[in-house]
């Protein structure tokens, strides 16, 4: 420890006068330091043997509940005395108790005190027990002390006279009358060496800043640089940061790339033709209604009518076309197909990839925004992210899909994953993956999956099975970040963005 005084120590010593021990609160009042700083400073001074520190425990007495009550209403023995005086001086003991409204225990204690203090006497007459008031006009010692405590609110025991202390001991025996508080106080007295060092400090003339001049000229050797309070608080600064949703996207993306998938991306605004019809979703399917899908106002995709694929898709919907299917058996309308929508899933983009490339084998993925016409609430967004993967190739089957998804979700952090059969209009067979999440103690739906129907992939010239899976990203993010309200992810609260720790081990 240096013999050099710290600015905090300087302030403390200035306040300490030779003889007295001064309490820390007092020091705080007289300097601009916080109690925290003072405590630290005193510790350092103690270590340097420049001060003496005493820890004193003082006892303070206060009124407890019954003590307060007796100041307001009178001690029980006083109330008995007052009651009897109003009654003409004497009454049956049981009636007194009932009319005052005390229980037996309290009453018999009160009668005991009343007798002891000379307020009443108990007599037997005609087989009945009576209580009789005695003449008594002055205040009881206990009443006097209670009133004193009441007016001062708190008294240090050392301030009481020895007689008062005797009365106090009586009162303390009665439960809930008196509260005793023990308060530790630290007091400090400076030693002579402290004042010597203070003088030296003033003479030393510390320098605040190490400047280029001091460095270059060598004058730094001749000055003393002021020491710092290294435990003091410093300004909070915030690093630039990636949005947690983006971070999660990047993690999922990394898993796909590690599995050898090719990344693709596509348009957000699509014709119904691509978003629905090419995926064999019939035109009267409820999901196509404005209640669930965003249609663009007053806009159609003019390229649809020019697309030769349209007739093929029409036939497939109406009667199965050349796919060996029965089709949906309804009249397909091109006006419906050319309406423009905000894509409701990323599947049309992967389908367009298949049409464009006609691969014999491929592994493709995308993570991007999709839209559903919903109102914003704690569980729904109208705009959110979907992750999707497809695999196609010779000898690629549903069992391989189950296999790859088990690995995929394992990478993501889900240990217990199960697969159940379900239904989607454009895959057959279809399944869904669910995982048991310990954090929430239940099964959570992860994604839909399946093999694309021939009505979807045959017009694209794909002969091998196409496995596909897709799920919503936000529900996983909510789980990873323990956020309840989905809207919060896009509230962009800087408080959260600046402080949130990225979810690394998630579920």
């Amino acid at each position: 420890m240096s013999a050099v005084l710290h600015p905090i120590e300087v302030e403390i010593i200035k306040v300490l006068r030779g003889e007295d021990y001064i309490a820390l609160n007092e020091i705080a009042k007289q300097t601009k330091l916080s109690l925290d700083q003072i405590r630290r400073g005193v510790e350092w001074l103690k270590e340097k043997n420049l001060v003496e520190v005493k820890e004193e425990t003082s006892s303070f007495i206060e009124l407890d509940t019954l003590g307060e009550k007796s100041v307001a209403e009178g001690l029980p023995e006083r109330r008995i005395h007052n009651f009897l005086n109003k009654r003409g001086g004497r009454e049956e003991i049981e009636i007194v108790r009932k009319e005052i409204g005390m229980d037996e225990k309290e009453f018999s204690a009160a009668v005991g005190f009343a007798i002891k203090n000379g307020l009443v006497k108990v007599i037997k007459e005609n087989g009945k027990i009576l209580v009789e008031a005695l003449p008594y006009s002055k205040s009881l010692d206990t009443e006097v002390l209670l009133n004193k405590i009441f007016s001062l609110k708190q008294i240090e025991i050392n301030q009481l006279s020895s007689y008062e202390r005797k009365i106090l001991n009586e009162l303390v025996k009665r439960p809930n009358y008196i509260k005793i508080k023990e308060v530790k106080q630290i007091t400090v007295k400076a030693k002579n060496d402290a004042f010597k060092l203070l003088e030296e400090y003033y003479k030393a003339n510390y320098v605040e800043k190490l400047t280029p001049e001091l460095i270059v000229s060598g004058m730094w050797r001749n000055v003393k640089l002021r020491p710092y309070d290294i435990e003091g608080t410093v300004p909070v600064i915030y690093p630039g940061r990636k949005h947690p949703v983006q971070d999660f996207i990047d993690q999922v993306r990394e898993i796909f790339l590690n599995f050898g998938f090719e990344e693709i991306e596509g348009q957000i605004v699509l014709s119904s033709f691509w978003n629905f019809d090419a995926l064999f979703i019939p035109q009267d399917h409820p999901a196509r209604e404005m209640q669930d899908t965003f249609y663009l106002k007053d806009m159609v995709d003019k390229s649809v009518r020019k697309n030769p694929l349209v007739e093929t898709i029409r036939n497939i919907h109406e009667n199965g076309g050349n796919t060996g299917s029965r089709g949906w058996n309804y009249k397909w309308s091109i006006a419906e197909a050319e309406k423009m929508v905000l894509r409701t899933h990323t599947t049309p983009i992967t389908l367009q990839y298949l049409y464009k490339n006609r691969p014999l084998s491929a592994k493709v993925f995308s993570i991007d925004k999709v839209f559903r016409n919903e109102n914003l609430d704690s569980r729904h967004l109208f705009e959110f992210h979907q992750y999707e993967g497809i695999v196609t190739g010779k000898n690629v089957t549903l069992r391989h899909l189950i296999g790859i998804l088990s690995s995929f979700y394992k990478e993501l952090g889900f240990k217990k994953v199960k697969f159940w059969p379900t239904y989607f209009p454009y895959t057959e067979p279809s399944m869904e993956a669910v995982a048991y999440v310990d954090k929430i103690g239940r099964w959570l739906e992860l994604c839909g999956m399946g093999v694309f129907r021939p009505e979807v992939v045959e017009p694209a010239g794909i002969k091998n099975p196409v496995l596909a899976w897709g799920g919503g990203l936000e529900r996983l993010i909510l789980l990873a970040y323990d956020v309840d309200d989905i809207r919060f992810l896009y509230e962009n609260s800087l408080g959260w963005l600046r402080s949130v720790n990225y979810a690394r081990t998630k579920f």
Binding site: G260, E263, Y295, D301, K363, I404, W420, P421, P429
Partner: protein, 544 residues
């Protein structure tokens, strides 16, 4: 997705042998049913819209009987004829041409009635597409005096509709009743309306709107007449076959009725099974399991289908109520159900390929890293925005129709207004605040063309008491140098976001690729911001 609630005991009453609650909960997901909620004695399941036959506890129980108790498949039915004949007036041809029906004897209970009506509603909502495809009428046959007439009436025609006690005209029914208001749009004409009545003139129904009160079903009903009217026959027959089979699952005896059109006669319901062919080779191709023909046939029995080998294929007879079997792949899925999806063991995928990220994502990552390095915090806002916020800055806004979240009614043409809103919601957070977003914006490709250009923009804002043009220009230059962009310059410009005289266009190869400047106090005050702010928005593709 449709849901169904029922007591375990109710389900058990239809099962071949009683099953424990635990067993039932184990079996249901293997049939493709989703368990939504379970209480001590009741269960709520969600079933897929392609299996309307799961719309009653009797239907589900039947499936369990085939699947778990190996009950012999039942797909062919020899139905007796009833005495019911329906005569179709030629005038109804232009309005709502098709009607089919059936007659059944069943002792109803309060529970059976409730479940049948629930199935009817699910059929209306599901494959009926909210009654657009067909409308089902259920009638207490004891009140009917056949033959039945499917005819037309004018708007003033009166009868007592269901749940009412006074006669109402068709006009009044359409405008005053709940069903009238909901379904009036399904009627094609406003002068003549389809009406189904019996030989006494009693009105059975006014399809697709509402039934007549006279034939209302009660728990005391013992015979039922079902009618389904439609504009197309296919889905109506699907619904009738599901109702017929479900009634039989409830223990009813179902009879056919005769429909007399102008020149033809039909006997309905027609429950002739469908025939389709299945290849074991395709089962292996899709499911990844090798099954011998007899194993396939065993699996099909469990889902109530009958298969027999024919040449190298399996000829499958499919019960009429299975309206979801469109292609061989649907049969393959059924084999999967019969085999047991829980028995499919995963296989590792051996398709080797290198992972290939999109090139543009690398550039986006570089931009993100540079801005983070400069102390900016990434925010993410929506592509959908408010028209009034976007209007001052973008022409030809692309609007969406009837958004449920009404303030989000256009695709954004620019990001800066949304970033200003982010700052506005963070006025109690410490300053300085530096935010950025890399995201898409939308605009029309050109004025007359209905084609949309999707662009990627980089937008950033700085705000604090000394935010300035100089500061943001330094950031833009640092970013472009970091990315190795050459040939860029700045030119004084005007833009509604920015203070006049403190705005620059970012130019590259003589093309404007972005704007930069100090935000106009008009917008600062409007958003409730107190500090100056500066920012930029640059088009990514043009910048590279």
């Amino acid at each position: 997705m449709p849901v169904l609630s029922f007591r375990f005991e109710r389900l058990n009453s239809f099962l071949k042998r009683r099953l424990s609650k635990e067993k039932i909960l184990e079996i249901l997901p293997l049939l493709g049913l989703n368990i939504e909620d379970v209480s001590d004695d009741e269960i709520k399941v969600e079933y897929s819209p392609n299996r309307p036959d799961y719309g009653s506890p009797a239907g589900i129980a039947k499936a369990i009987n085939y699947f778990y108790f190996n009950e012999a498949p039942r797909i062919e039915f020899q139905l007796e004829r009833s005495d019911y004949k329906v005569y179709v007036d030629k005038n109804v041809k232009e309005i709502r041409p098709y009607i089919i029906g059936m007659y059944a004897k069943l002792k109803f209970s309060e529970e059976t009635l409730r479940e049948l009506i629930s199935l009817q509603e699910d059929l209306h909502e599901g494959i009926g597409r909210r009654r657009r495809k067909f409308a089902i009428g259920l009638h207490d046959a004891s009140k009917i005096k056949p033959p039945i007439y499917y005819t037309v009436e004018a708007a003033e025609f009166k009868f007592i509709p269901l749940y009412n006690d006074k006669p109402m005209s068709i006009q009044e029914i359409l405008s005053q009743t709940e069903q009238g208001k909901l379904y009036a749009h399904l009627l094609t004409r406003r002068d003549l309306f389809p009406i189904l009545k019996d030989s006494l003139g009693q009105v059975l129904s006014f399809p697709p709107i509402i039934n007549g009160n006279v034939t209302m079903l009660t728990e005391r009903t013992q015979e039922i007449f079902v009618d389904i009217t439609a504009n197309e026959l296919e889905q109506a027959e699907d619904a009738l076959s599901i109702l017929a089979t479900t009634l039989m699952d409830y223990g009813a005896k179902v009879y056919t009725v005769e429909i007399n059109f102008d020149s033809t006669k039909m006997e309905t319901p027609n429950l002739t099974p469908r025939k389709m062919y299945l290849n074991s080779y395709n089962i292996k191709k899709i499911l990844g399991i090798s099954l011998k023909s007899d194993e396939v046939i065993e699996a099909l029995k469990k889902v109530n289908m009958i298969g027999k080998t024919k040449d190298k294929q399996i000829e499958v007879l499919i019960p009429r109520y299975r309206t979801d079997i469109l292609h061989e792949v649907d049969l393959i899925e059924e084999v999967g159900y019969g085999f047991g999806y829980n028995r499919l063991k995963p296989l590792p995928l051996k398709l080797h390929q290198n992972g290939r990220p999109l090139k543009i994502k690398r550039i986006v990552r570089d931009i993100r890293e540079c801005l983070i390095g400069l102390g900016f915090i990434e925010v993410m806002t929506f592509y959908l925005a408010n028209k009034d916020d976007q209007k001052p800055f973008t022409d030809n806004l692309i609007e969406v129709a009837e958004p449920k979240a009404k303030e989000y009614n256009v695709l954004r043409g620019t990001i800066v207004p949304q970033l200003l809103k982010v700052l506005a919601s963070n006025i109690h957070e410490p300053y300085p605040q530096k935010i950025f977003e890399i995201g898409r914006t939308f605009k029309l490709r050109d004025e007359n063309n209905d084609s949309i250009k999707e662009e990627i923009k980089i937008a950033a804002l700085i705000t604090h008491s000394d935010a300035s043009f100089t500061e943001i220009k330094s950031v833009a230059i640092a970013l472009m140098n970091y990315l190795g962009i050459k040939n860029y310059s700045f030119k004084a410009s005007m833009h509604p976001y920015f203070i006049e005289g403190r705005c620059a266009a970012v130019i590259k190869n003589n093309k404007k690729i972005g704007v930069l400047g100090e935000i106009s106090p008009f917008y600062l005050q409007k958003e409730g911001l107190r500090n100056p702010a500066s920012g930029f928005e640059i088009d990514l593709e043009n910048m590279i």
